[in-house]
Amino acid sequence: MILNHESMKPIYIQIAEWLETEIIKGNLDVDDKIYSQYQLADLLNINPATAGKGLTKLLDDGIVYKKRGLGMFVTENAREHILLRRKNETLKVMIEDLVKEANYLQVSNEELLRMIEATRNKRGSD
């Protein structure tokens, strides 16, 4: 994980999104322990308060739960949760941008869909 310090996205959000991606990819499974605040701070060379804020966001969003004295663990429906939200929010915004650009460039729906298909086929299974 490399933080983008020039991004408009706050660092604690970047941390939360990175851990979410690890859950989607299956690198972190249900009831798996996630990094502690101090591990994250050490790993990313940031103040532990910033790292803690990223974890708090995951906690508030129901992605992880806390076991007193033991740390934080992935909730049962974390993956579904994240997928649904990313589809409704992240992907939607990207599609809006995509359509906007396509309109500027006067790309038709058919052409746009063809381009998407071609890209999907090229990238294969990822």
Partner: protein, 303 residues
């Protein structure tokens, strides 16, 4: 919780006022960056907190005591700057031994490992060190003391880039091992910001703001785009900074209070929205009265 609190604190010298009715507090167990232009009063404030300089007026409390002549404060704090007085004949190993005698939490193992990491000879005399090496050695002492109140005043003066990166990393790791109150004054906020939790900005001896780094990073946004289109939007906000960046192109920094609608509109107009670093925010807010350096060279303004 404030481990250090000041109220209407004043320090005046014969002809000038260095700290002018400053009311501020530093939170316990937090790494705070003290930021300000040259002459803003940073060093004077830090020296008063460490009990090295006597206040002229107002209130100052450190661990519940007035720090000047307080044994409690001097036993529980360390003040690191480039003028740390070491006896002339002392070698590195002698200095470390003396600090071990004075600071109950001193970690000699850490001091020695850091000294070796930075290739400092135990038999050399700090008095003969180059500026950067001296700063490095002072910083090592400051870290290894593990004092409940650790103050670094411009700790990286003269250090090269790599030494500075190592110092920031060592500061963070040691802070996590021994959480304590740390204040670092620096002009290199860009390099330091991720290690900090809070930022205190002082200007003309007074508090400008006390913010968390996270909120300061979201405090302002930079807009780059067509001058006339920009001005129709930015007139509704507080403008912190403005610069021409091309024919009819401007870069304008405003407080980050854009709602989604305005952001959408700006994007449609081809305006680029970029983050503004805490370091730049500090420069812009303290520059407002005098203008920027470009105004000095803008001779037409003075005719």
């Amino acid at each position: 919780m404030g481990v250090i609190t000041s109220r209407q604190l004043i320090k005046s010298y014969r002809s000038s006022i260095a700290v002018n009715q400053l009311t501020v507090q530093f939170n316990e167990g937090v790494i705070t960056g003290l930021i300000g232009r040259n002459g803003a009063g940073k060093t004077t404030l830090l020296k008063m907190i460490a009990g090295l300089v006597k206040k002229s007026g107002g209130e100052l409390s450190v661990f519940g005591d007035d720090p000047f002549n307080s044994l409690k404060v001097s036993a529980n704090s360390i003040f690191v700057n480039d003028q740390m007085p070491f006896p002339v004949e002392y070698r590195v190993r002698d200095v470390l031994k003396e600090f071990e005698r004075f600071y109950p939490n001193w970690e000699n193992d850490l001091a020695e490992r850091l000294t070796r990491h930075f290739s400092i000879d135990f038999d050399a005399q700090p008095i003969n060190f180059s500026k950067g090496k001296r700063s490095t050695f002072n910083a090592i002492v400051g870290l290894a003391a593990h004092a409940p109140l650790t103050i670094f005043d411009e700790p990286t003066t003269g250090m090269d880039y790599s030494a500075r990166q190592d110092f920031y990393r060592a500061l963070l790791k040691d802070y996590m091992d021994y959480p304590r109150t740390i204040i670092v004054s620096s002009h290199l906020l860009n390099e330091l910001e991720n290690v900090l939790e809070d930022i205190v900005l002082i200007h003309d001896g007074q508090l400008y703001f006390h913010e968390t780094v996270t909120s300061l990073k979201e405090f302002a946004v930079g807009l780059t785009g067509d001058s006339s289109e920009l001005s129709s939007v930015t007139s509704k906000y507080e403008v912190l900074h403005k610069k021409d960046v091309g024919l009819n192109q401007q870069y304008v920094v405003i407080e980050n209070q854009l709602d989604e609608k305005v952001e959408e509109y700006l994007k449609k107009m081809g305006v680029q929205i970029t983050p503004v670093s805490p370091a730049d925010v500090c420069v812009y807010v303290t520059n407002r009265e005098n203008g920027g350096i470009d105004d000095v060279f803008n001779r037409s303004k003075h005719v």
